[in-house]
Amino acid sequence: MRFKKLLPLILCAVFFSGCWDKVEIDRRSFITSIAIDVGKDIGKQEELKSISPDEPFPERRIKKLSITYGFPDISQLGPGKAGTASEKYINTDAYSMEDAVAQGTLKSSRNLYYGHGKLLLLSSDVLNYPDVVREVLDYLERQPTINKMMMVVAVEGKAEEYLKFKPEMEKNVDEYINGLMANSSRAASILPITLKEMFVNLSENGNAIVPWMTFDKTKKELVLSGVAVIKGFALKGFLNPIETGDLEILRGKLKNGKKLVYKEGHPVDFIIEDLDRKIKVNNKNGKLFVNIDIAIEGSIKGYYYGKGVSDTKTIEALEKDISKSLSVELREVVKITQNEFMVDPIGIREYVEKYNPGFWNKIKDNWEETYKNADVNVTVTTHVRRVGVAK
């Protein structure tokens, strides 16, 4: 009798349990970085448009993309061993991102698994083909397993070389770049962007800014040189590190930055520790007037031995100098974004849309022109709070 009661249970256990998704952990390779380059057939873009959607065998080998996957060598990890491992790479030539996975699988003894992605390197060559960029982005957005919090970096030249670069400090490049990005709280010119943030920016109007990295061939090191401005899914231009720092101030996102002024021929470093940004927007006859008020506070780091800075007069004079110098500098940066890029990375567009919706509805179809002709005024007020422990 008891057996009769147990039988269904046993049968359930036998027939209803099963695992379609079983993958042993040692059969997976965890892709931590993806480098996207153009393939050798990128010039055949136009030719592809002539292929009709119902053509048989459309996969004729057109290698538009060249994707390199980096994954850690798991055998170097383990108890008693180092916390990070050097990377191994798979390079594939493919016509799309999914094809790259398929090609990669043919070259790999393990399952390629995206869930632990940390770094996405976009080659500047790819960024010259907005159609290809859109294809790649759609794939990255559509795949549920892709880690949307991975860092995005645009690089000059072939992204593959950056991925295979062996940095001095870390065992692999994605640890290195991620560590670099985490330093944004200490250096103003680093502006980390995650994949999610890039999607949010791009979905609004196809514009975004991405950290820009170059390779110094003589010194053999990676150099983070400001940001790349993407407009309409294509590379539009660059801001150098100082401009990037200024942009961070304009965005009100700066966590830690430095401002230099010369006093009697000696450099005085002012470290910005806190920042408050206020935007005011006015409009007259369709012309946009923007007032950006920025209040910064921080401390003096160095001046000239024997000369004190801790009397009110000197500090006030310094504050004035810093404010003036920075105001002009910031205005210049705004002008660059207005005239050269016609892209607004500062967030004025969002501001108008959010706080001035009536005006936004009038100008939204003509935003670029409005922004270009906008009158942007930047005022900086500086407060020196500390001067160190010397007088």
């Binding site: 957005e141 549920p144 949307k148 919090m149 949010v200 979905s203 969002e350 959010k354 919706p357």
Partner: protein, 367 residues
């Protein structure tokens, strides 16, 4: 016929909340943002008020009918034949909404957790587990709801707190920037997101303190509205309105993109998916029990054990019917909207009118 009175206040509150909040949460921010942009949170509140009125209507009807069970109300007011037809439509509405919800659920699970497991298998397991609970009776079901309520909402509070990092709450601006007809259309979306409160027909007759019911109804509507508002605002704050409307299930994508500094948990989906299982399962079981209960009374079946088996194949077939995700949302919008409009708006109004008239007539006769 009088029902046994055994459900306490908390039982009713938690049952209503867990029944209403289900898979709709996945896509709700997208639906709303597509229609109304950044005004979603405000529309949710308006929709909450509208739903509260409809909800209160149910209480009124049941009260006027002497706290009878749902089928008896239909039978007494509409007569045997019409009552049966209405009961069948009502059951169909419930079954459609839980079955299509189940398909959404299994699609989500297939996307994020069980990539290769067949849909049929996920559906079957879900239905069998559901039937097991339904057959144990209403008191067990209420207990289950009471426990699940905490299992669901304590972790979700932590998840949402973690999501707050990197959110830009100015994204909810601008407000009141749409035309009046847009608001009306959007409110209808919200009202459908509240589908599930018809479970009150089942709960109210068995409630213990009946005079406290309006208060509980109010509280549970507030809870659900606030929950939806928080989710909508969170998703908007993280993605902005353009990006929100590009995702099929923005709520899940939001949770996926939570990044906890220090990364003691790197991949959340496993945990969160396990949570969503309960979110959907409670909606499913309560809807299932309610349908089985109506069916039992309407066709004088012996008990829910039989009627639940009768309904089982329908759930399975309806859940499998849509060919793909796009079809699935099409089907659920078309069927659910027509059925819901009838069952949640038209039918209660008719019932209310008839019962009021009858009651007055009854009084006259007595005099």
């Amino acid at each position: 016929m009088k029902e046994k009175e055994f459900i306490n206040k908390y039982g009713i509150f938690s049952s209503i909340v867990v029944t209403v909040i289900g898979v709709g949460v996945f896509s709700y921010p997208r639906d709303l943002t597509e229609r109304i942009g950044s005004d979603g949170w405000f529309v949710t509140l308006l929709g909450g008020v509208a739903s509260w009125i409809l909800f209160y209507l149910i209480y009124k009807i049941v009260k006027l009918n002497n706290f009878n069970n749902f089928y008896s109300i239909l039978h007494n007011n509409l007569g045997g034949f019409l009552g049966k037809i209405c009961a069948v439509i009502f059951v169909a509405f419930n079954i459609f909404s839980i079955a299509l919800g189940m398909r959404v659920f299994s699609e989500v699970i297939k996307m994020y957790l069980l990539l290769r497991t067949p849909t049929e298998f996920i559906l079957m397991i879900m239905i069998f587990t559901g039937i097991y609970l339904v057959r144990s009776g209403l008191d067990v079901l209420i207990r289950f709801n009471e426990i699940s309520f905490w299992v669901m909402f304590i972790p979700i509070v932590f998840v949402l707190l973690a999501a707050g990092k990197g959110a830009d709450f100015t994204n909810v601006l601008p407000v009141f920037n749409n035309s009046f007809p847009d608001y009306i259309k959007a409110i209808s979306t919200t009202i459908y997101a509240f589908t599930g409160y018809q479970i009150a027909y089942l709960l109210i007759p068995s409630a213990k303190d009946k005079e406290k019911l309006p208060k509980i109804i109010f509280k549970s509507t507030i809870f659900i509205s606030v929950f939806y508002v928080i989710i909508t605002i969170m998703v908007l704050a993280i993605f902005g309105k353009k990006e929100t409307s590009t995702f099929l299930w923005p709520t899940i994508t939001m949770i996926k993109s939570i990044d906890i500094p220090g990364t003691f948990i790197e991949r959340w989906e496993g945990i969160v998916m396990a949570l969503w299982v309960i979110f959907y399962f409670t909606t499913f079981v309560n809807g299932y029990y309610f349908s089985s209960d109506i069916l039992k009374h309407a066709f004088k079946l012996e008990d829910v054990k039989i009627s639940s088996f009768v309904l089982m194949p329908f759930i399975y077939l309806i859940a499998l019917y849509p060919e793909n995700v796009a079809r699935l949302y099409e089907v659920s919008i078309s069927t659910n909207y027509t059925l819901a409009t009838f069952c949640l708006i038209i039918l209660p109004i008719i019932l209310l009118i008839i019962s009021t008239v009858k009651l007055k007539g009854g009084c006259k006769n007595e005099v």
